[in-house]
């Protein structure tokens, strides 16, 4: 069972409705199951660029290697908690490559609101603590890559993997 320590550093450009968030933003993180949810402190004065530097610890069940950790940014208002935006962080981003255990990684992700629009960026740092060694997924990447001659046109700018409605969706990578 691997565990990961996520330090939620800050967010940028958060908006609720069309207006920037004024205060009381906080972040929740969960891996797969709702009962394993962690939450940061409230950022009382941070406005639309709150800073927390709060550490959250999550356990990753073995089957979650291809899964996600869901981060959600909420804002406490007089009418309850409003969901500002969220992102599904692929666990492979945390474990991939040649990163040794206990290596501190700095990652940033685009946040998506419930309508599927962009709503800010979240900055986190992660540290995987794991008793077992993991497989390096990029160990055998070839050095020289050849592509066929001819123009590679990207028509229409189709972007892969961007969720249109991120809530509750799983994307195979």
């Amino acid at each position: 069972m691997q565990s990961v320590e996520i330090t939620v550093i800050s967010c940028e450009n958060l908006r609720v409705g069309k207006k920037p968030v004024k205060k009381n933003a906080f972040v929740t993180a969960r891996a797969d199951s709702p009962d394993q949810c962690c939450q940061t402190k409230m950022s009382v004065e941070g406005g639309s660029n709150p800073t927390w530097n709060d550490k959250l610890a999550l356990d990753l069940p073995a089957g979650l290697r291809n899964g996600f950790i869901t981060l959600e940014v909420h804002c406490r208002t007089s009418s309850g908690n409003k969901l500002v935006g969220g992102v599904n962080v692929p666990v492979s981003d945390l474990l991939g490559g040649f990163m040794p255990i206990n290596h501190l990684q700095f990652l940033s992700y685009r946040l998506w609101d419930s309508k599927g629009d962009r709503n800010g960026i979240v900055n986190i740092s992660t540290r995987v603590k794991s008793p077992q060694p993991y497989r390096c997924s990029q160990a055998l990447q070839p050095k020289a890559i050849g592509v066929p001659v001819g123009e590679q046109k990207r028509i229409g700018g189709v972007v892969t993997g961007v969720p249109t409605v991120w809530l509750g969706h799983r994307y195979p990578y």
């Binding site: 990163m99 501190l104 990652l107 940033s108 685009r110 050849g146 892969t160």
Partner: protein, 601 residues
């Protein structure tokens, strides 16, 4: 770095010399170029050199030599200029001179030092050292080195052999001329950094309907009362709480803790004409006192009536919420601990460069030896970076060409090998480049993704083994990148690695689109799966005829700053665009190391 002179958009960023954590808005700005063009480099360290020698030649018949050391600097144009002399040590073959020489360490240029040792004859012993005519003395030997060679040694001491040089008028010296030992120490002022958080209260609005987007400019006052800006905060937009993010000041930038500083508060105006709200004049010691007492200082607004300058005291007060002094490890500390900068290069072999055999091709090898644009870029960057790489083995790749009997490759080894990518020294890069021109046929399109991914692989392999290497990839290209999204994806994946990418554009293409990759000019890079770059690792500069561009730049920057600075002595010489790129590297290196709390032990 672009051509924009107005301080809009990304120009709202804070700039100051020391960055303590990764900020999206980097220090590339009109102001930074303005400062560095005038010799006010943000992050340079003062180095103190001390000298001793062993085994000097015996030129006098009756007594030992009385050696004197003269220090010269050789500029880029080859001109040799004397910068200092030590005192004369009497009667010694192994002198240790007490006089030290202090100079600024500039990362972005090769600082060539020439040392000449003279034996001062007895009749001149009472003459002041400065007045001695060197051609009347006896030349004992000379040595040359680059300043970066001294500072990259872990002991910070370099032993050089003294050679007869060109002044061996008499018989060839059969004995050795001796050895010169140069030792470098970094001045402690370079390392002390102060973190200050400023806050304003009771902001008076100029007019009822104006928004306030305030920012601070901190300047130091030089002898004739002229303020020189050293640091600028970010612009606060739409936030009633007027507190800026931390500002980091290096003691050495400021001069000393007692040096007077002017802190001016301006209201940001997108047309570039910022209104002065008010200012205070305090030294670092005064700011420390403000912090400990918790009191605020009223801003004043300078008004002139007749010949008297009167200051209107405003209601707004400036508070110092945080004042933290810390000794930070400098770039040179990391070097002394064995940290290295590994240089890697990737060269564009696409067909748009033109047939290499024709003189108008960007890849044309001039038989007279005049380097083409690609060679110039490699030399200018490689010459500086080579000293920071202990084994001098540089990975070198080409992209966009078809090697003999093969499909188009977007990352092939320049040395023609299929196993390893490294070449020996800058000369090795040149030779591999010239032989590759003969062995591949130019094709296309221009893709950066594979080269960046390869460089990232090397960086992450090194990261897994030790923390002591930082990689610098130089990509030289003549055209706009075709796979912009794939390049962004590769850059985002590499953004958390110890890697900086310098992209130099050669030729006459319009590189406007490439500037998107340089996050200083726009938003942070976003990959196709929603991940955002954790830091800005790319810098782009077109390698053009820099003279005319710089002239336009100076004019536009001067216009912008004519209300902030009245006159400023022109201190620095010309700088090339590539040098400004290189000047950023120590800051990027330090930011990476500091955020991950990697310290030299």
């Amino acid at each position: 770095m672009g051509n924009c002179c107005s301080d809009g958009g990304s120009g709202r960023a804070a700039i100051g010399a020391t960055a303590a954590y990764p900020t999206i808005d980097g220090p590339n700005d009109a102001v930074q170029l303005f400062l560095s063009a005038r010799g006010c480099h943000g992050l340079f360290s003062q180095i103190e050199l001390s000298f001793s020698a062993l085994g000097l030649r015996d030129r006098d018949l009756c007594s030992k030599s009385d050696p004197l050391l003269v220090i010269y600097v050789r500029g880029r144009d080859g001109a040799v200029q004397e910068v200092g002399r030590t005192e004369v040590v009497l009667n010694s073959f192994n002198p240790t001179w007490i006089t030290k020489h202090t100079m600024a360490f500039q990362f972005e240029v090769v600082q060539t030092l020439i040392f000449r040792v003279y034996d001062v004859d007895t009749p001149f012993h009472n003459v002041e050292v400065k007045m001695l005519k060197l051609d009347e003395q006896q030349f004992l030997g000379e040595a040359t080195c680059a300043l970066s060679q001294i500072v990259t040694k872990s002991s910070r001491s370099l032993t050089l052999d003294l050679v007869p040089g060109t002044e061996a008028a008499d018989s060839v010296c059969s004995q050795s001329c001796g050895k010169l030992i140069v030792h470098a120490e970094e001045c402690i002022g370079s390392k002390t950094t102060t973190e200050i958080i400023f806050r304003c209260s009771d902001f008076e609005h100029k007019t009822l309907f104006s928004r306030s987007d305030p920012f601070l400019v901190i300047s130091k006052i030089v002898e004739n009362g002229i303020p020189i800006p050293i640091c600028k905060s970010e612009v606060i937009k739409n936030d009633p709480r007027l507190a800026w993010k931390s500002v980091f000041l290096n003691i050495q930038q400021v001069g000393s803790k007692d040096s007077p500083l002017v802190i001016e508060c301006f209201n940001f105006n997108s047309n570039g004409k910022h209104d002065l709200v008010g200012k205070v004049q305090k030294s670092l010691v005064d700011l420390e006192r403000l912090h400990s007492s918790g009191q605020g200082e009223n801003l004043f607004y300078p008004t002139s009536s007749g010949n008297n300058y009167q200051n209107k005291i405003l209601k707004s007060q400036l508070f110092v919420d945080t004042f933290n002094e810390s000794i930070q490890c400098s770039f040179l500390d990391y070097l002394a601990e064995g940290f290295e900068l590994n240089f890697m290069v990737a060269i564009d072999f696409t067909a748009s460069n033109g047939n290499p055999r024709l003189p108008d091709s960007l890849h044309y090898i001039d038989p007279s030896g005049h380097p083409n644009a690609y060679q110039r870029a490699v030399l200018e960057v490689g010459e500086v970076l080579q000293f920071y790489d202990t084994d001098r083995r540089f990975p070198a790749w080409g992209f966009g060409a078809r090697p003999i009997d093969g499909p188009v490759s977007h990352c092939f080894n320049l040395n023609g090998s299929s196993n390893y990518c490294e070449v020996e020294g800058i000369q090795g890069i040149m030779m591999a480049y010239m032989s590759a021109l003969l062995n591949v046929s130019l094709a296309g399109p221009t893709l950066f993704g594979p080269v960046i991914t390869n460089a990232a692989l090397l960086a992450s392999q090194s990261l897994a083994n030790s923390w002591h290497k930082y990689f610098v990839l130089l990509i030289i290209t003549d055209g706009v990148v075709t796979d912009l999204q794939e390049t962004k994806d590769a850059l985002v994946k590499a953004s958390d690695l110890p890697l900086s990418i310098l992209i130099v554009g050669v030729g006459g293409a319009d590189f406007k689109e490439m500037e998107i990759l340089d996050a200083d000019k726009g938003d942070r890079l976003e990959s196709s799966n929603g991940r955002v770059a954790s830091r800005d690792i790319v810098q782009f500069v077109p390698l053009r005829d820099v003279q005319s561009e710089l002239l336009l730049y100076y004019i536009s920057v001067w216009w912008f700053y004519c209300f902030l600075v009245t006159t400023l002595p022109f201190v620095g010489g010309e700088i090339s665009a590539i040098q400004s790129l290189l000047a950023e590297l120590p800051t990027q290196f330090l930011t990476f190391m500091r955020t991950r709390d990697i310290r030299p032990s």
